[in-house]
């Protein structure tokens, strides 16, 4: 998959938009009507918010959609130090003169790509404000330092992802931001779909997949008791991968699930006991 994290490389060289195309079909199992919904939102030029717990397939879904719609996908992993100029672009000194270098957001706006702001709540609030003019019918991006306004390519689509599991005041999305998006809600896939995912992605046999799914369900039953979130499909895939790479089943589950999920000794013991019961 050729999804590039644009942010870190932007200063070293300009990336051509061609490099952001997804060339192989990413594996994705649809759970509901999210594909149709995304399709329509794209046609209607509506920005999209992907909601859901971590590791339930938001990013994978988007890669799949980018491939399906044949659009380049520019992914920006948001973090606390992300500044507006990291998104929009900045002047760099080259030879005798200063040259403007587009940020990943400008790149996507110009070329009609999907711009994906992953975990948007992690970014500082003043940074997220720059996307506001892109999300209403203006569909434009002011490049203040350069003194120009970019009009978005008709194919341009803004997608953010957001994990409502963080019940923190400081980590919540501002109403003025969140009310600019149509939301597609994600959750852990139902048992038989999750089983199919584990078999295809993790390469385990059906029996192991069934047990891993059961492990997932049981750990998710404990969400109210010290676990902030249930175990993600991603972690289950990791466990499956470790198993199919020849690791001992319990060892794999301890590494990919128990220890990855929690530091609480009681909870670790509980999950380990469940694992030893299942395998």
């Amino acid at each position: 998959m050729a999804v590039k994290a644009a942010h870190s490389e932007i200063n070293s060289r300009e990336l051509a938009i061609e490099e952001f195309f997804v060339d192989k079909e990413p594996f994705y199992v649809a759970v509901g009507d999210e594909i149709e919904l995304f399709d329509s939102a794209y046609r209607l030029k509506l920005p999209i918010m992907l909601k859901g717990p971590t590791g339930c397939g938001k990013t994978r879904f988007l890669a799949h959609m980018a491939w399906k719609l044949s659009l380049p996908l520019v992914t920006i992993a948001c973090h606390e130090d992300l500044t507006a100029s990291d998104l929009v672009g900045r002047f760099l000194l080259k030879g005798h003169e200063t040259t403007w270098s587009d940020g990943p957001l400008s790149l996507a706006v110009k070329h009609g790509a999907i711009c994906y702001l992953d975990e948007v709540v992690e970014a500082r609030k003043d940074t997220t404000v720059v996307i506001h003019p892109l999300t209403d019918d203006r569909r434009m991006l002011p490049q203040e330092k350069k003194g120009v306004v970019l009009e978005a390519h008709p194919n341009f689509l803004l997608v953010i992802s957001y994990n409502p599991g963080y019940q923190s005041v400081t980590k919540d999305l501002k109403q003025s931001t969140r009310q600019r998006f149509v939301a597609i809600d994600f959750n852990y896939p139902p048992a038989e779909k999750e089983q199919a995912i584990l078999m295809s992605e993790g390469g385990v046999d059906q029996e192991t997949a069934v047990r891993l799914v059961r492990l997932g369900e049981m750990v998710r039953n404990l969400r109210q008791h010290g676990l902030e979130e249930g175990v993600s499909t991603r972690l289950l895939v990791y466990a499956a991968k470790l198993i199919s790479a020849g690791h001992d089943t319990r060892q794999a589950c301890t590494a990919a699930v128990t220890q990855a999920m929690t530091d609480d000794p009681e909870m670790q013991e509980t999950i380990d006991e469940i694992v030893s019961g299942l395998f």
């Binding site: 100029s85 019940q167 902030e228 299942l278 395998f279």
Partner: protein, 767 residues
Amino acid sequence: MEVYNSCRTFSREHLKTLREFLEAHPHVLSSLPRASQNDFIRLCGYVAHLRSRKAVDFFMNTLRAIESIGSHHDIRLVLNGATTLGSRNWVLVLPYFAAAKHIPNGDDFFEAWLQCSQRLADRDIDVAVTFLHKTPGALSVLGKEAVLRWGDLARSALKTPQFMWKAARAYLEESVENRCGTTPERWVFNLEQASIIAQRSPSAAEEFIRSGSRICLLLNEEETAQWVQEGISGCSSTAELASYFSGRSLKSLDMRDALIEGETLKDKIGSLSLICQAYLARPVKIRSNRGLVGVKGFSFGPVTDGRVIYLPEVVQSFELMKLMALHQATLLNIEGWHEALKDSVAWPADIHVEADRKLIEIFPGMARLMRKIAGPLLSEGYPHSAHVLSSNLPWWGDLLPHLITETEATVRKIKDGLPESADLPPELIEKLVDSLLAQGEREPNALLAKLGLMLDNIDFDSPDAEDLGENVQTFFYKEWDLILSDYKLDWCLVRQWTPSDDPNSFARDLAERRKGIISLIRRQFTKLKPERFRKFKAQNFGDELDLDALINAIVEMRSGSFLSDKVYIRRDKRVRDVAVLFLVDLSASTEQELDGVRFLDIEKEAMTLMAEALDSLGDPFAIYGFSSEGRFRVDMLCLKKFNEPYGDSVRHRMGNLEPRTLTRLGTIIRHGMHVLEDVAATNKLMILLTDGRPYDIEYGNLEYAMADTRKAIKEARTRKIHPFIITSDKKGVSYLKQICAQTQSIVLPRAEILPYVLPALYKRLTL
């Protein structure tokens, strides 16, 4: 009539009675073979000492017994046996006839059984009577061969009949009644132990056989012997002995638990409940099964009442305990087994095997565990090909269908019985009842009374409006109830106000006394202070161009040098972003003097030094004092708010602090969380200064308080607040472990060092 020849020894009166009886029932003798007629007369002679009325009853019953037995056995043989037994004591005769009816016909079994009875009768008549009484039951439960062993064992136990007859009798009864658990080998051992006990008290030996030995099923023989020895040496009176060996006294249970090497339920209850919750996808309550002592059929194993899982307090291994819990949890999920059991549609063993099968379906790994625990008891393909199991499996426990129906009925009754005025949601009532049931109360009226009391308390304790002054803010917080395993919402009321800032000399005196250390800490802390939002000029990477650097660079370049790339401005955002909330214990115990100084004064001193230092550092901080008196009077004294500048009024408030009442730690932490919620900082610290364990009115025992505090700390951590506990309580080591990780607490070896420790600690925590 020659039959009367054998009556020469009879008294005249008895002869008359017999003659009248035989005349009234002329067919009696004629129906018997000639050889047996004499036997019959001899039998009748055995009751010669009775009054005529009773004697006739005996004749009559003997007659009926002979009639009913006639077709089944050789009557000569039966009568012959009756006379041999009767010669020892007449009371054996009728039970003998009753039992003989059930003895299977053919081979030599009858003969062997008769001899067994005789040998028993030689030692003790009472035991022999019990043997005869219980023979039919034993035959159906144990089978032919085992019946003889069963009787022989009782006989060999009767080496000292005067002490042991009660125990031997109890053995005969219990081993037939109690179909599960005890193997014949174990009975041999139990009887040996009983003979030791019997030297002190025959009744205690009987109690041991009847019920005490059952609580020892968890012990091996050596440990049981030790338990018996402890009982004998530890009890003085007969009554004491009897209650110890019945296994119903607390002492005996404690002793047993002390002897078991293994896992205690108390340590594992948390993770077991979590495992069961993960399994059943709903909260599951697990309790000690001690509350069930006295329930019919309960043999101290794991059991459920359809709502709660009850487990033994100590089990050899955690694996077994886990299996017990999961087995019971599976039973909770099987619909209607208690009905089936009641209607005798299913056998207990069938239900257990069914539960194991379901359990293994979900947890295949449990099959391995079962084989490991049960060993040779388990056949290869268990539980899918369960042929007859020789005994119950260790994790099965009891099935008590009546307990389930009774519990259901009790809960229904209570729901109906509650007064209308108690306008509570049914789920809440159910939970309350569940928790009361789990504590061991099962009688509906008593439960109703307790529940009523609980509800009354809720009304009674509501806060009085006039209590609260104008500048008092109030907040409601939830509390974690260990027994309910759930939150009680809006349970505690926090009252927050600012204490008076009447001028006092506390801070000035302190500044005078601790001049050295204050300036030292201030200096140290100033070094910590970062320069905020600093712009780094002339960097080779940054957001903006640095014009000065750029012009310089171009000038340099034009004059022949290389173009420098250090022309950007970078903003360093690694700011020190810490907010800290101090919570200071004002409970009455801080009044206590340590080396002549009150702990409160040490706290005040440390806090003032800290505040001075923080003021120089510039980290936002707040100080609150806390104490409580029941759940509606949790007081938070606001000494300094986050947005309030540090100054004289704060110093004066600090000086005015005096010890108050108690500590409800959970609620205090929750309020601290609320205070920190409004502060925008990346790292939020909550530092608690205290001198002892959480304790408050209606705050339960230590475990309850611990559970609530632990829960509150977990809540804080999920909100990215880092609690840290500093205590001067030396006993703190043991309970702090239960509350939070070791890295989040410290026990002061000496309270006086607090003023030095606090700044150092703060530095370490925030660097």
